[in-house]
Amino acid sequence: MPDSILTIADATKRYGPVNALDRVNLEVEEGEFLTLLGPSGSGKTTLLSAIAGFAPLSEGRIDLRGRDITGEPPEHRDFGMVFQGYALFPTMTVRDNIAFPLRVRKRPTAEIKKRVEYCLGLVQMEEFADRMPTQMSGGQQQRIALARALSFEPQVLLLDEPLSALDKKLRADLQWELKSLHDKLGVTFIYVTHDQDEALSMSDRVVILKDGRIQQEGVPDTLYNHPRNSFVADFLGKSNFLDLPVSAREDDALTCSIGGTKFPVMAPGATATGDVLKVALRPERIRLGQPGQEMLDGTVRQVSYLGERCLVMVDHEDVGTLIVSQPTWKAGVTPRAGLPVSFGWDADACVVLEPGG
């Protein structure tokens, strides 16, 4: 197992009666790209502020490579930080902004000059060195903020929704850049976002938070395909939720039924016959077919065309309305509102969720 750079133990932050963080435990590994993902009010920004040293914890501790830093002021933690609003110093040029962390560390002038040039190069902003921050676009300012936060070779780089103020196209470009910068420098990144696409596309590991608690953590692939509870299943991508009664079991293979139709569900762990399983079913895992071709028959309620794929709402008398996502390039059924259709899925498409989630 790789070494942890940061260990967060039982971190709790109370604002009056509200727990913004509720006994959060987290290990951050050296060099990883870790994303804290959650809706607003989930505690992700509070957790980042606590790591940065701006929000003292009510309880718990934070260790940096085994050294307790819970009570240390932000300037002693040696973490770079990138903010949503860029937070460049408006009275300083780009060069002075990037040199700032080096100057407060009293590095030699020659070294500062070299380091600033190198960092400008990292973010491909060499020709902007003598501009003022107000003379640049949002994307350019964020690149400078990134260069500034990396200039002193921080132990960890903290990023607080750095891309959310930018337009969609630019955001996608910067995601690639951030990822390649991370791979190139090997610095540990802790990234806060509410945008699941950002989280899935860049991260080595994602931590999903809700109401100040960690819901699930893992690599993007695991989180997407094996969500633990309905919150995770719903927050990361779209999911259909079904309540399936179990009619038979044989080791991990269960047989469930919907309106008399039986089909297999893979569910490790103990589940008794007669129980009702709560499962999540991804829209893209449902197949559509001609009436009678697949397991269940339903009616198309509505079709929404999204370019590369289309979303189809299918009504079924027992399961209600399901959302199906189908590639538009795929030959076969062309669903139309009001037409009968059949649908089905593979045995491993249903993900059994924790009860109560």
């Binding site: 932000p74 300037e75 770079g80 903010f83 609003g85 408006p90 700032f100 407060v104 500034r148």
Partner: protein, 260 residues
């Protein structure tokens, strides 16, 4: 364009209000040029004798210099204290700091006479009556709210994440204040400093209460001039102050245009 009676009525009203505001100020100009030895309009011709009298009278000169240097010291002290206060409140930004802000601006709300009476009582106890220090202290207290209000206004535009960024990049609180908070507060400090100077330069009620013979400021000298002899020198001083104000205002507007 057809001019309606309505429009004429309001235009006339507006010009009359303007005249009412300006004429009492402007009337000092002909009076200052009078050839008589009392306050009145010129009789036989214009004369600059009262301007000459102002520059030749050591008492007028002394009063002017006193007002100027006290004003400068007050501006410096009030700017330093008011800025420190405003920055402190900005960092705390909690209930206590809101209360503190309200308390600090009370000198603006309290009637000058009441305040001056307070100064008088205290300054007697402290032995500051009729001293420059006493006047500077009183004027600094009176000017503080103007400085802190204008610094508060300047800091309202400062993104809270900017000082946070500085801290996370390794700057201590003090380095953060110097590198990013003070530059943001600077426009407010300049405005506040100018205000503080004007407050001190202009102040008379307090000065009348806490000075006797030792300290004489320009407003006090003007006041005494009116009381003791109706000397037209007062009008020439007043005219010069009006001109100075006009020039300074014009420069401010011109510079504002150039920057915009």
């Amino acid at each position: 364009m057809k001019t309606s009676g309505f429009r004429i009525f309001f235009m006339t009203g507006a010009w009359m209000v303007l005249a009412f505001l300006l004429l009492p100020i402007l009337v000092v100009i002909p009076v200052s040029l009078t050839d008589t030895s009392y306050i009145g309009l010129p009789k036989e011709g214009l004369s600059l004798q009262h301007y000459a009298a102002y520059f030749q009278d050591p008492r007028w000169m002394a009063a002017t210099w006193t007002s100027i240097w006290i004003g400068v010291v007050v501006a410096v002290c009030a700017t330093a204290l008011g800025t420190a206060f405003a920055i402190g409140c900005w960092f705390l930004s909690d209930r206590a700091s809101t209360v503190a802000r309200w308390i600090l601006i009370t000198p603006i709300l309290v009637p000058p006479v009441v305040q001056s009476l307070g100064f008088y009582r205290f300054w007697v106890t402290l032995g500051l009556i009729d001293t420059n220090t006493g006047v500077i202290l009183a004027h600094t207290l009176l000017a503080l709210p103007y400085v802190s209000i204008s610094v508060f206004a300047a800091l309202a535009n400062l993104d809270r994440r900017i000082p946070q960024a500085a801290r996370s990049l390794g700057a201590s609180v003090w380095q953060t204040v110097r590198a990013v908070v003070l530059p943001a507060a600077m426009p407010g400090m300049v405005t506040g400093g100018i205000f503080a100077f004007i407050v001190s330069f202009d102040e008379i009620v307090g000065v009348l209460f806490i000075t006797v013979r030792n300290v004489s400021t320009l407003p006090k000298k003007i006041w005494e001039g009116i009381q003791e002899d109706i000397d037209p020198t007062i009008a020439s001083v007043a005219t010069m102050l009006v001109m100075l104000t006009l020039v300074v205002t014009a420069i401010t507007i011109w510079r504002g245009r150039a920057n915009a």
